[in-house]
Amino acid sequence: MNEFLMIVFGAMVILGGIATIISRDLFDKLISLGIIVAGIMPFLADRGLLDVLTATALIAPLSTIFILMAIRRRADEP
């Protein structure tokens, strides 16, 4: 991976982290968390850890789905 790609994906990770912290809505927070995961994946691939990448890519959505269980749906709110 050359320097340009490192800067691009690193910027994605930082951007997602800051957006996760500053946004107020729970759904917006979960979407920004998805950007962090997306920025991490090329770094995993660059090290050649393909087995870890496969497992992480399957586990990360499960974590989001577990959090979704506790969120009240939009229709119930006034």
Binding site: T54, A55, L58, I59, L62, I65, F66, L68, M69
Partner: protein
């Protein structure tokens, strides 16, 4: 190398101090329970900075102790506050009601069996938990007990192989790995059923 290590330890130590400070200031019990995970992450970070096989060997027991402690504390909290009999709902959305949980659970369990050992048990247990969460469960505790007994028997047998016929150590290693896989998977899938009420 030394430079990198000292900078990392300094920053992670600052994070740990912030986490402990928040834990001291916090009054609400559930917020404290959540902060425990934060403390665990920063402490594991200090161990991970060692960066050798020793770190890997130290992180695995840390994770085991962490998940056991979390289960016990959450159960104590739920019983103490009297939420034991409160019925909770599962997730009721389209993606879960289709075939997605089955496929992902099967993928995770197969992958966990290939990995074997504690890591494989964790991955496979996660698949089982996800399936139970999505589809509901009936109480099959006798099956879980049987699996636990089988894993003990496999373990003892592997130990005897190590003791008496050491030339078959590879076979014994595989047996022990399968035993710990079964054990961890059963224990972790119990965490999905321990909450009393399913989501039928």
């Amino acid at each position: 190398m030394w430079q990198e290590f000292s900078i990392g330890v300094l920053l992670v130590f600052i994070a740990a101090v912030i986490a402990f400070f928040a834990l001291v200031v916090e009054k609400d019990d559930l917020h404290r329970l959540l902060l425990l995970d934060l403390v665990e992450v920063s402490s594991l970070g200090i161990i991970a900075l060692l960066g050798t096989d020793l770190a890997e060997a130290l992180i695995l027991p840390g994770l085991v102790v962490g998940i056991a402690e979390l289960l016990a504390l959450s159960q104590i909290y739920v019983i103490k506050e009297g939420f034991r009999d409160k019925v909770v709902q599962g997730l009721n959305i389209e993606v879960i009601q289709a075939d997605a949980p089955l496929i992902i659970s099967v993928l995770l369990i197969c992958y966990g069996v290939v990995l074997s050992g504690f890591t494989g048990g964790g991955v496979a247990g996660l698949g089982v938990v996800f399936y139970f969460m999505a589809r509901g469960h009936r109480e099959h505790f006798e099956l879980l007990e049987m699996a636990s007994g089988i894993s003990w028997a496999t373990w003892i047998f592997a130990f005897f192989v190590f003791m008496f016929i050491p030339e078959y150590w590879m076979f014994a290693l595989f047996l022990a790995a399968i035993g710990i896989l079964l054990k961890v998977m059963v224990k972790l899938s119990l965490s999905a059923t321990i909450w009393g009420d399913g989501n039928e």
